[in-house]
Assembly symmetry: D2
Homo-oligomer: 400 residues x 4
Amino acid sequence: MRLKNYNDPIYGFISIPTPFIYTLIQKPVFQRLRRIQQMGLSHYVFSGATHHRFAHALGAMHLMHKALTVLEDKGIAISPEEKEAAMISILLHDIGHGPFSHALEGILIENVSHETLSLALMKALNQKHNGKLSMAIDMFTNTYKRPFFNQLISSQLDMDRLDYLKRDSFYSGVTEGNISTDRIIAMLMVHDDQLVVEEKGIYSIEKFLLARRLMYWSVYLHKTSYVAEEVLKRIILRARELLNQGTAIDASADLLYFISASHSSVNQIDMDHYTAIDDVDILSMVKAGVKHSDPVYASLCNMVLTRRLPKIKVNNEPFSSDFIEKKKNRAKTKFDISLENISYYVFDGVMKNMAYNLEQSPILLIDKKGNTKELLAGSDQSNLKMLTKAVMKYYCCYPK
Amino acid sequence: MRLKNYNDPIYGFISIPTPFIYTLIQKPVFQRLRRIQQMGLSHYVFSGATHHRFAHALGAMHLMHKALTVLEDKGIAISPEEKEAAMISILLHDIGHGPFSHALEGILIENVSHETLSLALMKALNQKHNGKLSMAIDMFTNTYKRPFFNQLISSQLDMDRLDYLKRDSFYSGVTEGNISTDRIIAMLMVHDDQLVVEEKGIYSIEKFLLARRLMYWSVYLHKTSYVAEEVLKRIILRARELLNQGTAIDASADLLYFISASHSSVNQIDMDHYTAIDDVDILSMVKAGVKHSDPVYASLCNMVLTRRLPKIKVNNEPFSSDFIEKKKNRAKTKFDISLENISYYVFDGVMKNMAYNLEQSPILLIDKKGNTKELLAGSDQSNLKMLTKAVMKYYCCYPK
Amino acid sequence: MRLKNYNDPIYGFISIPTPFIYTLIQKPVFQRLRRIQQMGLSHYVFSGATHHRFAHALGAMHLMHKALTVLEDKGIAISPEEKEAAMISILLHDIGHGPFSHALEGILIENVSHETLSLALMKALNQKHNGKLSMAIDMFTNTYKRPFFNQLISSQLDMDRLDYLKRDSFYSGVTEGNISTDRIIAMLMVHDDQLVVEEKGIYSIEKFLLARRLMYWSVYLHKTSYVAEEVLKRIILRARELLNQGTAIDASADLLYFISASHSSVNQIDMDHYTAIDDVDILSMVKAGVKHSDPVYASLCNMVLTRRLPKIKVNNEPFSSDFIEKKKNRAKTKFDISLENISYYVFDGVMKNMAYNLEQSPILLIDKKGNTKELLAGSDQSNLKMLTKAVMKYYCCYPK
Amino acid sequence: MRLKNYNDPIYGFISIPTPFIYTLIQKPVFQRLRRIQQMGLSHYVFSGATHHRFAHALGAMHLMHKALTVLEDKGIAISPEEKEAAMISILLHDIGHGPFSHALEGILIENVSHETLSLALMKALNQKHNGKLSMAIDMFTNTYKRPFFNQLISSQLDMDRLDYLKRDSFYSGVTEGNISTDRIIAMLMVHDDQLVVEEKGIYSIEKFLLARRLMYWSVYLHKTSYVAEEVLKRIILRARELLNQGTAIDASADLLYFISASHSSVNQIDMDHYTAIDDVDILSMVKAGVKHSDPVYASLCNMVLTRRLPKIKVNNEPFSSDFIEKKKNRAKTKFDISLENISYYVFDGVMKNMAYNLEQSPILLIDKKGNTKELLAGSDQSNLKMLTKAVMKYYCCYPK
């Protein structure tokens, strides 16, 4: 059999190991990921970071293939069915992402995570293909008997995180996030069907967690792209408000389905509408919006389109109500904004990040004798401990 | 003065050297380049190649800055005004690009090149800024007294080509195109106000030309993205046909301006419409198009949207009319396509590439004694000569 | 003037800005750095890390050039004389390094640092060149009136550290150490003739310090290369012991000068002998040593030559005397080592590293209003504080 | 089983797949490759190119592993024994290299290639290990029944070339030589037990051959390192002459064994002496040589040690005897060199390179129907043809 290959600037070549996986990649619902930015509006700060979910999904699958090969070389028995299922599961883990990935998650559809939507789409594919995705779905939902597959798909050390850190570092040019995926994967092991890390790999894990933390503060939570995405959210909210008041919004029918009504459960949603929308629908709406008669909506659209963003100030402590009040008053007088609309222009909130979350399933180390212990127990220094602290930053946005 | 910096995955950091240049970058007409793919639909083959014109324009400016610094270090006098003008000129050299860059050039507006449109937009900016771009425009149009500035902006060895080869190689993952821009720039010199290359740099130039040739055949003219762009063109043409027949097309007003009527001179065009359109308008039209009542238009849109592209065959000789006729007949019977529409589905043509064009201004070498000669005269071997031959390939597309 | 260029895999091209600097590079005492490994025996673990001091010295000079250009662009006046002096100073900052760099520092010559030897060699060059290096020497010794030059040469954020971190990361393949030198340098500023960092650059500094810490534990203090260098030291010490007993050692005359007698001040040393030795003299001695009649000396030489190294165990607490005694007894019985020689085979010690040392001159941040504060005062989180703690690890080596 | 891993800056991590291969790597005869420069004196021009044969051997083995995995994925049956044998064979293919690799090949031992010496060393290891290397040796000598293994080890498209091009490009900083080994390997196939390339891989092969050609002219045959190696050869020849005259040379006994007598067959050689010498012996001799009483020998040694090299001029035609005579006369009068020694200082010769040799086994393409054809037959353009021409350049060296 001739293997199908995909070009990738990070791994060189990504081979598609089975015909069925190739079939899945060809599906319109998967090709749609070519129209969803991996990093929302981060390219407003990191001009190079224009990559799509499509390449990330293939990349995560590629790392899964590497990880399974390493585990097999170490003597772990993995059947061909399990192999294909694990690769399908990671390939489709993000298929439920909507326009601009995380930026609009929870806004277009309230209280529904992209994982829930991924699962719904996997189930639909499974039905069409007579159960060929059942094992992949079990692995995704952690109901498969060998938990390490789920841990490779969705844990604090999964192939998803490994790929996105490496990929986002490559595209943003923030070289310090460039983790050694090969080295980390080489340290993986399976013990009692649980994913573990060889003890000597502790520095690799430490580097991975530090890189993750750095990427969060330098890139993912960069204040300029953060404020851009906050404005983008308010565009959706304002549009919903206007629609509810009976004012028309120029947008695709599929997108209007999500803006007009508020859905908060996956069962309420017509998935055909969902798989029809992507970044294009949002950007198209924003472009049309700059000429809208509602000055609030038009001005928000204009901010995002021309990248003339509000000022964002970041602090370690919450902003005083005095400070916010002052900014609101200034906005009212200087830009003639009415009281009821002021929250579209002056708003505050909190950013939060934790590199390693002790409340989630821990990363386990295994020593040469086969004993396992939690990562922190194995770390001899206080370095890793600081990574478990949630870092909170407070921000306030207001007109320049 | 604190310098403004832009992140770039290739050069790390790009500094903006003067406040006026920063003002230009902030303009909506320049920010619009964030919504124009550098490489059209190449990301359908090279999934990583999702970068925009915006980063390329900054990158070319960065190389211009480097080149001018090298020339100054070699004793060439360059005034601060010239420096700023050269950087503005290269920064704006591509500002006239429309949706999907080269893919739709000559289709949306007939017989008008993107350079002509860049010039028109530069002139408009010049008017708004009271002539501050005059010297930049003179350099762009090669009417400035010192020709080497124009040669750095637009020649067979300009900063535009240097940046796009390096950038497209980086994003596509085709490492062989990764030219050493630093080494090439270090070999540049000015003699009698003409751009020349130090003789010892001949291997660097050879590598650059070979890399260019390789990028053409491996990437820019890759048959799969080529056919995708050919279909994209036919979507525009079909839409125009339908509009002329009175059938409505769902697209933005600004885009319809270009599709409905056929413009073939920059003076006929309302530039406000032009600067309002970008990839979003096209993709939005394509997305809506899949449900259009015209089966031809809908099927073409569907091909591009879902990446279910026609077959493309490439030959060294033109395809026989027999071959084409056979493909047409098969298309007619198998897919029930009427004779008048067959050319939307079965078509042939020729791709052409020349790494170094002897009919354009040559690359000049200068020896230690200050004598100049044309590149080929300096090359001791036949290697470079082959790069001057136009390579032609014939293609034929038809339904799978 | 045509500039002289050096190829460099990290920066592409390094330009030599003045003829006098080129003259210095051509000196045998500088060319000698081609025969001194940058990272001692680290290539025993990181096979790619074979680079020499020569390329590092050029690289640090290159970064100095970049830093001075950035500062000038920000309006800091720097005279051409200062520029050349700063570049000479950093170029020669490591010229006093001896064989295997840090690995044998303090062993071949007791209590004399490589900086002291660098200064002595600079002074000798200054004499030969009639004081042309005087300003460079003043900068090196921090007696020049503008301290920021010395801070660029030798501080906790100097061009030396920037280059070696980036270079050692590149050659070792430990990608996480790959700092963005461009981004860090872009954040530098001068205030009251002191080197400061723009406040917004705090994350870049944090990344730099974390990368430094990671490189220490992953690479510089890797236990396998650490034990190799410990054995190398003992080869010198054993050779000195044998020579003192009247036993001959096969080594070059220049090297024997340092092994036979114990020098502990730079004034006692004939610098001609010092500049004559490099890695070749040591390796040559080790190669001859494997056939020496003294079994201790021969066995130590054999360990290094064939990379059959003792076991090294690393702990967070000091090893108990019980543990060490047990290892000694085992060595005595199993390998028939006499009591007086046991310390060549079983030995313990401590490794120490501090990413940012509060007792040295601090890194200063400057805010937009021109106020400066110490790095830690500017950091809003506990992350940087952990980098100020000295991390100590205890090791014990013994035969396998 | 826990796999043994080696760090590598190019591939990240290299896994050692079997315990026996790890045993071979641990052998002193293999560890010796850590003391042999991969690229002779190329680091005199490309300061970064300091890598050793050791890392190259591991890298070539790594690519072999990748190639065999790709072939297995395509359905080619390869037994575990064949896999290990192929990896051993490529791992040891260069074990016979002597000091400075190609630079002194044919000089230390006349008319004996490094391949012959590699084979002799493999046979010795085979004897020690009771025939465990027999299959590897058969593959190396192309007597194994399935020729594709030999073609992966030693042909115009072998894993040796793939690794050294990529590695030498990485270390020299000549980015254009950075071939996509993954892409090339993905195109490999086996047909009738012969190595073939899938037809669609023709551009990858073209890029590989062009990269090879460029590396030859830019790096491997760079005139400055070329002349350095020519002088190095003359140091050996002069030493041999002096020894034959009864003058002592300060060098290791093992090296003197090869300098004193002239060997021209592998059977005449005591291999213990051969495996005892490496770059250290040569450099040690050169260092001692600068003080030798013979002015010719001393001056040649000084040239190499201090990198004060003769002038080298390169032409497309042979130098006229007039030109050479003039240079000789000038050398005689200006530097007082006697007639009998003049050829140590003034000499000429020819450099030759062919990217693809038609007289050797060709690279075969295979189309989708399973038909094979020679590479050139498959190339539609003249591009590849030029790569089959031998390029000759004439050089002449003389004192500056």
